[in-house]
Symmetry: C2
Subunit: 387 residues, 2 copies
């Protein structure tokens, strides 16, 4: 187990307080990160419907998933065997049967008191059909949106979580170095991705790596204008810029890191853009501390890059932590105008103020933890790739 | 572009025929594999809401996504720039704004005729909230489930798709060999994962690899009883069984492959279980041909393993092809009782008849393409790991 049972119980207590405030007496959790956060469950099984169900008046939640995955739940979660519920394989990707009908029937039979259900209306892996099944099966309940209820509890990390994120930060350093070593004129971009992935999974001599929620993103050459392109098997040409966006992952905790380098000598446009981004990051990191708001952080950035003549209208960062594909972001606080989340110690962010011009993008990023008086980086890796 | 415009237009034509049969005049497609299949769009952007929208009476579909990803759509899809619609970054993971409100408003303004909408009610990355936004924004339309409409068109591959899947099969061979070379007493499981991932992404000297929809699954020791466990950083002990389930991926097309090996000498239970699985596979592959049903294939398997005294009640395979995380399966045909899908040439399946006992699981699998008279394997890799 990654955490003590005490820590899991504290998390549950926070969730139940929020359920109580919202008037929810049963919470259906489908986000795999939230499932992991509350129970420890860890497996690549989120491609089939599954849930953790928290009842306000019961100490221990229930895990509900495919029968084939009950052993995985026994191996990775702290839940008692009688709290692991399952459905048969005939429900998997069936055109006529749905797993959530099984869960709804179980609830109808065993839980008569609960009337107000919360569901994660915008979570990954919770389909409109799954909601329909729950609503029609648990017809005595009302359903309301409890999206982000657990995510908000996740925002302030425990010290143990921070130690895992620092390990993830170490892995990110090793993986970025592997990327730097692999980028050269004539190298195939897929081989750079391979070197990075190897380092991400192998981790360090002291501890191994887990799979990050996003594969390495390696936009190269003019494709640096498209931030979410993965890679090709084309060869890197002299002078090509290469964006490397990756994360280290330890026990599902992430520390993302981005750098942009060139194969060979960088040109002036590249240098100018890089310097604007680096100055903005430095300004922001120098001022981050508990008590300021997310939107303040973004404003510091805008002030700096405006002096360089650039503007950027996308958010410059977001809360990070435990996660699963397809995203390492927590979907709660964003560093952007209007976000009034107040920074607190042990909150963790990925600051990624990329700037994309017509035919060149530069991404440089840092992951940081808010400390008592400022912030601390999760990885230590030079920002500037040229001399 | 991975395919000719002619091929994309043929796919669209098949989809429109099905729309017509179902009485749907606009189809909202959120499954990234379906988006790719119809437009070529390829990017790791499915962590934010996006869509391909097909209008029955318009030749070209629309891509709708985050403004930041329009460049990626220009780079990877065949769509004209005026068919790329987008939303601003203030809609990304916002608690108050939803991207689908933007799409619904656009449809209301530009498309007055369409009345009957199809949505993928069980697709990944289509949330209940997204559906609510479409329904309330396009209040003049009725919505019905069109889940699997495009997936069913995907089932029979073109010859070009088969060449890509054979390349994926070659990559699977290389990746499996990397796994075999890495599994030894004292090796950390994470380092086996790293070696496999490196091989998957690097591919072959002739062509590079793409990221598979699922990371390597490496249940080890007693954890082989839990099929969807990924890996730990613990060391492999002498005699430990290690399941390696992986896929080669080329241009988003998958060829999965599983083997189970032991570090050191396998025991009798392991050998007996392996032999039952291999005999079942051989029996099945010998009889697969166009005209038989998916459920017939499963029955052949049951007959064989029953003679060994084992029974297995989960499905033994499923249709495969182009895909994105979290699954390489197409969710259409399954090799299991009740599935009356008739095999046709150029259908492709992953045959994975794993058997899990109380403390040992053995997975051995093959991916195959149905040919005119039988079937052909996508990878050629010895099934038996001991002599």
């Amino acid at each position: 187990m990654m955490f003590s049972k005490k820590e899991y119980m504290e998390r549950l207590q926070h969730v139940k307080e929020k359920m109580n405030q919202k008037g929810i007496d049963v919470l259906f959790i489908s986000d795999p990160a939230n499932m992991n956060y509350l129970t420890g469950y860890d497996g690549w099984s989120f491609y089939v419907p599954q849930m953790v169900v928290v009842f306000l008046e019961e100490e221990e939640p229930y895990w509900f998933g495919r029968a084939q995955d009950v052993n995985g739940a026994r191996a990775t979660s702290w839940l008692s065997p009688c709290h692991l519920l399952s459905y048969g394989d005939e429900y998997v990707h069936s055109k006529v049967k749905h797993p959530m009908d099984v869960l709804a029937a179980w609830i109808n039979q065993h839980k008569k008191k609960e009337k107000r259900a919360g569901v994660e209306m915008e979570a990954y892996y919770f389909s409109p059909r799954a909601l329909q099944c729950l609503e029609s099966g648990c017809y005595q309940m009302t359903f309301e949106d409890a999206h982000l209820l657990v995510n908000e509890v996740r925002m302030v990390k425990s010290d143990k979580e921070i130690t895992y994120m620092k390990k993830a930060g170490n892995i990110a350093e090793v993986a970025m170095q592997a990327g730097y070593d692999a980028v050269k004129e004539g190298a195939r971009v897929c081989d750079v991705a391979a070197a990075i992935s190897h380092a991400q999974l192998s981790g360090t001599a002291e501890f191994g790596g887990d799979y990050p929620a996003i594969v390495p993103l390696l936009p190269t050459g003019v494709l640096t204008y498209a931030p979410h392109i993965t890679w090709t098997d084309e060869k890197i040409k002299s002078g090509d810029p290469v964006i490397i966006e990756l994360a280290g992952c330890y026990g599902r905790y992430h520390a993302p890191l981005a750098r942009t380098i060139t194969a060979g000598k960088p040109n002036t446009v590249f240098k100018n853009l890089s310097e604007a981004v680096m100055e903005g990051i430095e300004t922001v990191l120098h001022q981050v501390k508990p008590g300021i708001k997310c939107e303040d952080v973004e404003q510091m950035w805008q002030d700096t890059i405006a002096r360089h003549g650039y503007c950027k209208d996308s958010r410059i960062g977001y809360s990070i932590g435990v996660n699963y594909p397809p995203d390492w972001g927590e979907h709660t606080a964003s560093l952007r105008p209007g976000d009034q989340t107040i920074l607190k110690p042990n909150m963790t962010f990925h600051l990624i103020p990329g700037i994309w011009l017509e035919e060149l993008g530069v991404e440089i990023s840092e992951s940081f933890v808010v400390t008592a008086n400022g912030c601390e980086l999760l990885s230590n890796f030079p920002q500037c790739s040229y001399s």
